[in-house]
């Protein structure tokens, strides 16, 4: 998942939950964690307006189209799916709980049939009652509006191929079957899918009124069922959310009551002014990362208003293994030896904000086994660069003197990393140039092989804590599409035997997660030590800066800060 750009992937229940679901699918009913923790509501804090700041809007407001973290953070309070992620702080925020459905679905037919019972009496923010027809229409609409993942996640629903071919007349016959009299929705898949519930719990799975037009609604708000509803959206000034007058709590774990009377997200601020405004209490929170030169000031003066959260994410340099000079393993190793990860950490904001890493999987991840291959020392933790060795390797590889184009984003940190990388490449014998591109473009640009990008700065934030989310998504043959802007395997790394191991690991995860994760650890190590398609830089943390007097900061690992839970009164 990309943090800043428009790309966002699904967050799934933990691998363990997924495994148990599939086990349950083999006959038994899934265990129902709906009685787990939920936020307790304190009415005395209700009221006021929460002001959120962002440098720019996040695109269309249509929850079945928008794919940004920025708006997903708001959808958690405005839309509901049949199921949802638990709205709490901490690890439990990855739990899946029933939302518009009475309970988690009954999974039958070998994991291919999901049966949901829809809650009665829930109303949309326009006053209409939610019916099974709305559920059916919402699934059809995924195809009509060309949902980004309609062709992948939802392609497994029976009837999806017809919908993909002719979206306008999508019916999903046999795929989504409803029984209005019993209020039951049955979804049939063509094959078992361990992650299907996660895919329903994200905003794409939002249930919208059946009358919603079958095209991207853009800035026109669509009625939802959450505690809040969108009132107006102006991508150049602000987005306004107000209380949904028809909302009543049915499951606080899935859709809790919110505190503020109104939530505004104000756009078009410079990041510097966002900091100033939060400092001065003119706004409650800023979406954008804090600029590095303000970090020291904030951490000294506003320590109590800063929340540092661990993220499972890796910032890395992707080297294109298919074109010179980095089609040469020695050249890739050389860059790994030369690039000082500690220096990169400094550029990100220091050791409190990031830690250097030599591998693909981030710490604390399933399958994470620390190792460090290319460095001065020999331990499993990073000790420093070995420039002499790097220079020798470049010489040996015969690639010395080649021109190398570094592609980085124009935001401060990425650009600084790009400049540093350029400097490193020059110092080991290449002729490096830097090409900074707008964050909106760079991520696609570096993916497309037509652009012949040799080396680029990028980063990956977890979709869900499963090793496959890093290793398979970013480094398997199936994710490499030459000539396409959507080729997330930026290095173009494709190794058939490793692919086979990944598939094996994935299957193992269903039956024996421990063994599966051990295999993932091995894959992680093999890719880096044998092929070195990346230079892993560091694992960053996320800082939220809230204004003085803003209370009840809750950090969901899925949706990040829960904006509707903030106290401004």
């Amino acid at each position: 998942m990309k943090f800043r750009s428009r790309w966002l992937g699904v967050a799934s229940a933990s691998a363990l939950v997924a495994a148990s679901l599939v086990t349950g699918a083999m006959g038994a009913q899934a265990s129902t964690p709906s009685t787990g923790p939920a936020l307790t509501y304190q009415p005395s804090h209700a009221g006021g307006t929460v002001k959120l700041l962002a440098s720019s809007a996040g695109g269309t407001l249509d929850p079945q189209v928008n794919y940004t973290l920025q708006y997903w953070q708001l959808y958690q309070a405005t839309y509901d799916g049949l199921v949802s992620f638990r709205k709490v702080s901490g690890k439990a925020s990855f739990d899946i709980v029933p939302d518009l459905a009475v309970a988690l679905p009954k999974v039958t037919n070998g994991g291919k049939t999901y049966t949901f019972v829809l809650r009665k009496g829930i109303k949309f923010s326009n006053g209409q009652t939610v019916t099974v027809k709305d559920v059916q229409a919402s699934f059809q609409r995924l195809f009509k509006v060309a949902n980004p993942n309609a062709g992948s996640w939802y392609a497994g629903i029976v009837g999806a191929s017809a919908c993909l071919a002719k979206p306008a007349t999508c019916t999903l016959t046999g795929g989504v079957v409803v029984n209005p009299s019993k209020n039951i929705v049955t979804i049939n898949l063509t094959a078992p899918d361990a992650e299907f519930l996660d895919q329903l719990a994200v905003p794409f799975g939002s249930i919208l009124p059946a009358s919603t037009p079958g095209h991207d609604m853009g800035t026109t708000p669509i009625p939802g069922t959450g505690a809040y509803m969108f009132k107006s959206d102006n991508p150049n000034t602000k987005l306004v959310m107000v209380r949904n007058p028809y909302f009543k709590v049915w499951n606080a774990a899935a859709q809790p009551q919110g505190y503020p009377k109104e939530i505004d997200e104000i756009f078009s601020n410079t990041v510097e002014s966002e900091v100033t405004m939060v400092e001065n209490g003119q706004a409650n929170w800023m979406f954008d990362p804090i600029p590095s030169d303000r970090l020291a000031e904030l951490s000294n003066k506003y320590a109590s208003q800063l929340h540092v959260n661990t993220l499972t994410s890796t910032w890395y340099i992707a080297m294109n293994v298919n074109i010179a000079p980095f089609n040469n393993l020695l050249a890739r190793e050389a860059v790994n030896y030369a690039f000082d990860k500690n220096a990169a950490v400094k550029l990100y904001g220091g050791t409190k904000l990031a830690s250097p890493t030599c591998q693909i999987l981030p710490p604390g991840f399933p399958g994470y086994q620390p190792f460090c291959a290319f460095q001065k020392g020999t331990g499993s933790t990073y000790s420093g660069p070995d420039l002499a060795k790097a220079k020798a390797l470049v010489k040996k590889s015969g690639t010395a003197g080649m021109s190398v184009g570094v592609v980085a984003q124009t935001d401060t940190v990425d650009l600084a990393l790009g400049q540093y990388l350029q400097s490193v490449l020059n110092s080991i014998g290449y002729k490096a140039t830097l090409k900074p591109l707008s964050p909106n473009i760079q991520f696609n640009y570096i993916q497309n092989t037509n652009n012949k990008v040799q080396i680029s700065e990028t980063q990956w934030y977890q979709d869900y804590p499963a090793a496959s989310d890093f290793l398979k998504i970013l480094l398997s043959c199936s994710q490499f599409h030459p000539g396409s802007d959507n080729s997330i395997n930026i290095s173009g790394f494709c190794n058939k035997s490793l692919d086979a191991q990944m598939n094996q690991a994935e299957t193992l995860m269903l039956t024996n997660p421990t063994k599966g994760n051990a295999l993932w650890a091995q894959i992680d190590k093999q890719i880096m030590t044998k092929y070195a398609p990346w230079v892993p830089e560091f694992n960053p943390k996320l800082i939220d800066f809230i204004s003085k007097g803003t209370g009840n900061y809750q950090f969901s690992k899925q949706f990040y800060m829960l904006v509707d839970q903030l106290w401004v009164k």
Binding site: E272, S299, N300, A303, D340, K346, G349, T351, G418, Q419
Partner: protein, 309 residues
């Protein structure tokens, strides 16, 4: 006179940039120095200083030492010596300003003379092109071209200009200002064409080429020369604006505009990184403008060039 003196001083200082960097400050202003150290009053300190207070977040480059031997104006976020970069940056800023002014004035003089002398279709086509460029606010045009060319590079037939090349901003800046000089030249040429000596030359059967080079050019040249210093100032300001938007000179090369951009992230903690290059731009532009006024008084007291800035 003072203006000329100041310009020469600035020119000299940017010329000695390599000497300063190499022999006085012992620094390479184009290489990141994230783990570097320097000695301040006997103590070795890191160039990038980790924050030790509060939550300990953030790393700040050292500020000005006011000591010419090292980090006179402090370091930027890559740990590079800002003063050394300032001198090198001046080279690029002045180079781009001057070369693009030469190209711009040259092209504009040629086009203006052709349009004014031949009239007819040539004039119509050229004038419409000028109109179109004119209708595009200068900065918008320059930014559009920069964004696009930075993505693709510039291919002019056999000539390929890479995305990182200094020639990219030079060509762009020269191009956008052409109408500003070409229009007056065209007008002047048109009025010259009516004058007796040109009519006489035409009557005597001299070739167009000969008339243009021997008769028209010497008479239009003074007004083009009058534009020149002002053009250099404009172009330098435009270059700095493009670089400030990070679509001008590309790193690690520096110009005063890129250093201001580098300093932006450090504005509140290390303001000198952004202040110093700005002050240099102002001093240089003021000198050029004063010099331009002087040149105008000397050559052509009636000429008027308006800032498109």
């Amino acid at each position: 006179m003072i203006a000329l003196g100041v310009l020469i001083l600035i020119l000299l200082s940017v010329i000695v940039a390599p000497f300063y960097a190499h022999d006085i400050a012992h620094t390479n202003p184009f290489t990141s120095n994230l783990n570097g150290t320097t000695v301040i009053s006997g103590r070795t300190v890191p160039v990038l200083q980790p924050n030790t207070q509060g939550l300990g977040l953030g790393v700040t480059p050292i500020g000005p030492t006011w000591d010419f031997r090292h980090y006179f104006l402090g370091a930027d976020n890559q740990g590079r010596d800002v003063f050394a970069r300032l001198l090198y940056g001046g080279r690029n800023s002045l180079f781009i300003g001057t070369v693009s002014a030469i190209i711009c004035c040259g092209v504009a003089a040629v086009l203006g003379m052709l349009a004014g002398y031949f009239g007819g279709v040539i004039d119509w086509v050229l004038s419409r092109i000028f109109d179109i460029v004119w209708a595009f606010p200068v900065y918008l045009l320059a930014i559009s071209l920069s964004v696009v060319l930075l993505t693709s590079g510039l291919n002019l037939g056999p000539v390929h200009v890479g995305p990182g090349s200094l020639w990219l901003p030079i060509v762009i800046i020269a191009a956008v200002y052409v109408p500003y000089v070409a229009r007056p030249v065209r007008g002047l040429t048109m009025s010259l064409r009516e004058r007796e000596f040109i009519q006489a030359a035409i009557g005597s059967g001299a070739s167009d080429w000969r008339i243009l080079t021997k008769e028209v050019l010497p008479n239009t040249l003074p007004s083009v020369i009058v534009f020149f210093p002002l053009m250099v100032a404009f172009n330098m300001l435009t270059e700095s604006a493009l670089s400030f938007l990070s679509i001008g000179v590309q790193p690690p090369a520096a110009s005063w505009g890129t250093i201001i951009n580098d300093g932006l992230g450090l504005l509140y903690t290390r303001p000198w990184v952004a202040l110093a290059p700005g002050i240099m731009i102002v001093i240089t532009a003021v000198s050029l403008n004063i010099l331009g006024d002087g040149v105008r008084d000397a050559f052509d007291p009636k000429a008027k060039l308006r800032g498109a800035v």
